[in-house]
Symmetry: C2
Subunit: 222 residues, 2 copies
């Protein structure tokens, strides 16, 4: 039995969901909420397995409510519903920690299957959205994660030189690199010079860019 909290600002919409979910034995609507604040409170109180969350609501919207419910860590999983397939909503919802994203025009069996999947720990995305999501994903995935060949310039570096390049990418000066690697600054300069030459960079700045483009340094990683 899967317990569900229905969140939508329109009473009629909530009624529809309740009718549908109560018509099958496997789901049980244990509560309703008309806006984000109420949703967060009821989620904490009722501990539903799944929260069926509308995005557009007056007051606190579904995204923020999702963020808080997920942050609360009560094991409730959030399935976000929206009328429009606006990209910002999808992105924001996923970053907020939603387990799924479906369109309101989904067929009843799709919705039920979605709830089942989410309750089961899986995730669901409306097919119409999946396509664009995959497109973006393919664009975002770091180059080295696929089957493409490694940049020959990178491959030409020795292990030491690669370490140096990473250090350059972190923004360290030659002096800092020397200190942290316990080397003389002369040695660092030699290494840096060879790195620049091998990757075809005219200065360390181009090397920093190269390092970022080739995912040698993590963003926001100091």
């Amino acid at each position: 039995m899967t317990t569900v909290l229905v969140v939508d600002d329109q009473p009629l919409q909530r009624y529809g969901f309740r009718m549908l979910l109560d018509s099958v034995p496997e789901t049980d609507v244990i509560g309703e909420a008309a806006h984000g604040t109420e949703a967060v409170r009821k989620a904490a109180e009722l501990r539903p397995d799944v929260v069926l969350m509308d995005v557009r609501m007056p007051g606190m919207d579904g995204i923020e409510a999702t963020r808080r419910i997920v942050a609360a860590g009560d094991r409730s999983r959030v399935l976000v519903l929206t009328t429009f397939d606006l990209d910002e909503y999808v992105h924001a919802a996923l970053r907020a920690g939603a387990s799924g994203f479906l369109l309101k025009d989904a067929r009843p069996e799709e919705l039920l299957a979605g709830i089942r999947a989410v309750a089961n720990g899986d995730a669901v995305i409306a097919p119409a959205l999946t396509r664009r999501l995959l497109h973006e994903f393919a664009r975002l995935v770091p180059p080295r994660a696929d089957g493409s060949a490694e940049d020959p310039r990178l491959a030409s570096l020795t292990d030491r030189e690669r370490e140096i390049l990473v250090a350059i990418g972190k923004g360290w000066t030659n002096g800092e690199i020397a200190t942290r690697f316990i080397l003389s600054e002369s040695t660092v300069k030699t290494h840096v010079g060879r790195v620049l030459s091998k990757i075809g960079a005219r200065d360390r700045i181009q090397a920093v860019i190269f390092a970022y483009d080739h995912d040698l340094v993590r963003p926001h990683g100091g």
Copy 2:
């Protein structure tokens, strides 16, 4: 009627797929292939709506075959099937241009629904994979796409200074910036100095890192 090309190195597996797909009126298996090379050739020859592609095959694998079929641009959509939910396969398949990714242990109706969706231009992902994909996606999505506040240091920059910062992020020297912006190098230096001061960077290298971390420059964007 959806035409399908079945690609798998195991004859029995192909037989199973053919039985299933031919048992419903909406799909029609118009060909089979036992490895990547044959798949590419038959896809070009038969122009199927959907290619049901196994990943692991002797010789050319399903990923490379997918890449080539998609690159051929014959409107054939590729639905990748695998026994294992290995991340590398998923990434590689999506980058190769696959329209979907399902596990072989999917129930028959799931497979049929997947083929239907793919033929329809949508995309599908096995629920078990969707979860991890969303996790990664949330991690990859540029920070500014959600509801988080913009870095106050960025907000303190004037429009001109932001342009300068982007230019720094591209690796341009002061001289190059001066030339492209039609400014004197002195002016550029003045701007750069103010930018460094405002974002708290000790030198332009830290500024480059800042620009990348705040997504002001696109990777691989010269």
